[in-house]
């Protein structure tokens, strides 16, 4: 305790939280978590549920692994990380099933997707194993937000253009667009369009932020 205590939201800690939103975004810059970004962005609601679940699992798993970081044998560290994530997800799912059944029904399909989300393992491996619990917690939150906003942005365009709804509410129908001859683009519902939407987001991001462009 001799070294000077770092402020709770020092510049360094803020960077942990904010960097993944843009410059170091797990989806658009590190290209992780693409599989789930593709699978569940047909509608906004599941995308939001997924973003929240990843937020909880990633921040808690980061803290748990960070607490054990000096005890984990390096040769089986990946297995340990996987066990921590899987145990957390299953535990949360069981509790939800017992007490908040509706939320658990929403989540059921995502349980597998959360466990295999490579962003979570990526952060455990790259950050939590070498940093203190509080810093790991911030890193988990930051990356989950970075992942979540991309997911929600993609889902927004796919649901709006593919089904003409937002959160199931028929926006375009209420605007009277169909009477003017507008039709939904059924292709937006299919998985490839998620990749193209992510591609467009990456394109815009690199147009604004030239440092990200590889020479």
């Amino acid at each position: 305790m001799s070294e000077k205590k770092e402020a709770l939201f020092s510049k360094k800690n803020r960077k942990l939280l904010i960097d993944p939103l843009n410059d170091n975004n797990p989806v658009t810059t590190q290209v992780l978590g693409i599989c789930s970004a593709l699978a569940i962005t047909v509608q906004l609601k599941p995308a939001v549920v997924m973003a929240l679940s990843v937020l909880v699992v990633m921040s808690v798993a980061n803290v748990v692994v960070s607490l054990m970081r000096n005890l984990i044998p390096s040769r089986i560290r990946i297995i340990v990380q996987l066990v921590v994530i899987a145990a957390l997800v299953i535990l949360v799912d069981q509790v939800l099933k017992a007490f908040v059944y509706d939320v658990s029904k929403e989540l059921s399909v995502f349980v597998g997707l959360i466990i295999t989300n490579c962003i979570i393992m990526g952060r455990l491996e790259a950050f939590a194993l070498g940093n203190t619990p509080y810093k790991s917690f911030l890193d988990g939150l930051g990356n989950a937000f970075g992942y979540g906003w991309i997911l929600i942005a993609v889902a927004f365009f796919r649901e709006l253009l593919g089904a003409g709804t937002l959160f199931g509410y028929p926006v375009l129908e209420k605007l009277g667009l169909y009477e003017m001859g507008y039709e939904n683009n059924g292709m937006m519902i299919l998985p490839p369009m998620a990749l193209i939407t992510v591609g467009i987001i990456i394109w815009i991001q690199r147009m604004k932020n030239r440092d990200l462009i590889e020479s």
Binding site: V42, N70, L71, P73, Q94, A98, Y101
Partner: protein, 255 residues
């Protein structure tokens, strides 16, 4: 302490596995009663919603007692056999040969008309799908349908659990004359005047086909029961009986 020694690695792995396993089993066992209750109430909710009764999960048990007038189990010849209809697990039944399967029936009354509710179960894209179909007394017209699924894709196959997919089933007919044709879920949309088809789901065709197959297969199992009920309804209308026999008598006397 050297955390990279072989013995430490083995020890760590063993302790971790035992700890996590016991944590999860304790959680699973202690939460099971609560989970089972939720599943049971949801089943009651689903059964009730096919006859147009929407209740919260807490009220489901009481509403079920009040509105479901009788339940029984059939064999595939349409005969009533012993069994508790509510607790028949179709997942288990479907694995048995057709002549040993138990077929549950739930009866309710809606506006003075008897309603028969039949449970369904089949295969979706990723896992089981199930549901309940309510038939009117003519054993032909559908008066309500509910579907659910274990792990269909949200926004695609999972749409079968939503109202827009289920409502068009109401009023459709499963018989064409005397032939059982079931209800087809049609990719690209059903024709408006087709009494035996409903609209499919864009991007959810395999799940939708699963619903079509499930309905055809389950209705087929209940066919003897339908036939008994239909002929019972005919027998019970005394006017037609009298007319028929008098006509037969007249014909005979002429000859």
């Amino acid at each position: 302490m050297d955390v990279n020694k072989n013995s430490y690695t083995f020890g760590f792995a063993a302790v971790m596995v035992v700890l996590v396993a016991s944590l999860l089993s304790v959680a699973a066992i202690s939460l099971k009663p609560f989970q089972d209750k939720n599943v049971e109430s949801e089943k009651k909710q689903n059964i009730l919603s096919t006859v147009g009764i929407e209740v919260s999960r807490e009220e489901a048990a009481a509403a079920y007692e009040k509105n479901i007038t009788s339940t029984y189990v059939l064999n595939n010849k349409g005969e009533v056999v012993e069994g508790d209809a509510f607790n028949v697990d179709l997942g288990v039944e479907l694995k048995k040969p057709a002549d040993q399967q138990l077929l549950p029936v739930f009866e309710s009354v809606n506006d003075g008309d008897k309603i028969y509710i039949l449970p369904m179960r089949g295969k979706g894209l990723w896992g089981p799908i199930w549901g309940f179909i309510a038939l009117k007394e003519d054993m032909n017209t559908i008066s309500g349908a509910v579907f659910d699924h274990k792990s269909e894709t949200p926004g695609l196959g999972a749409e079968i659990s939503l109202g827009w997919f289920q409502e068009p089933f109401i009023g459709k007919q499963i018989f064409e004359g005397t032939e059982l044709v079931s209800i087809n879920v049609v990719k690209g949309g059903a024709k408006e005047d087709d009494m035996h088809a409903v609209d499919g789901i864009s991007g959810g065709t395999i799940t939708a086909d699963g619903v079509t197959d499930m309905l055809a297969e389950r209705f087929d199992q209940y066919l003897p029961f339908f036939n008994t009920k239909i002929s019972e309804t005919l027998d019970l209308s005394p006017d037609s009986l009298v007319q028929d026999s008098s006509m037969a008598f007249n014909l005979n006397s002429i000859q």
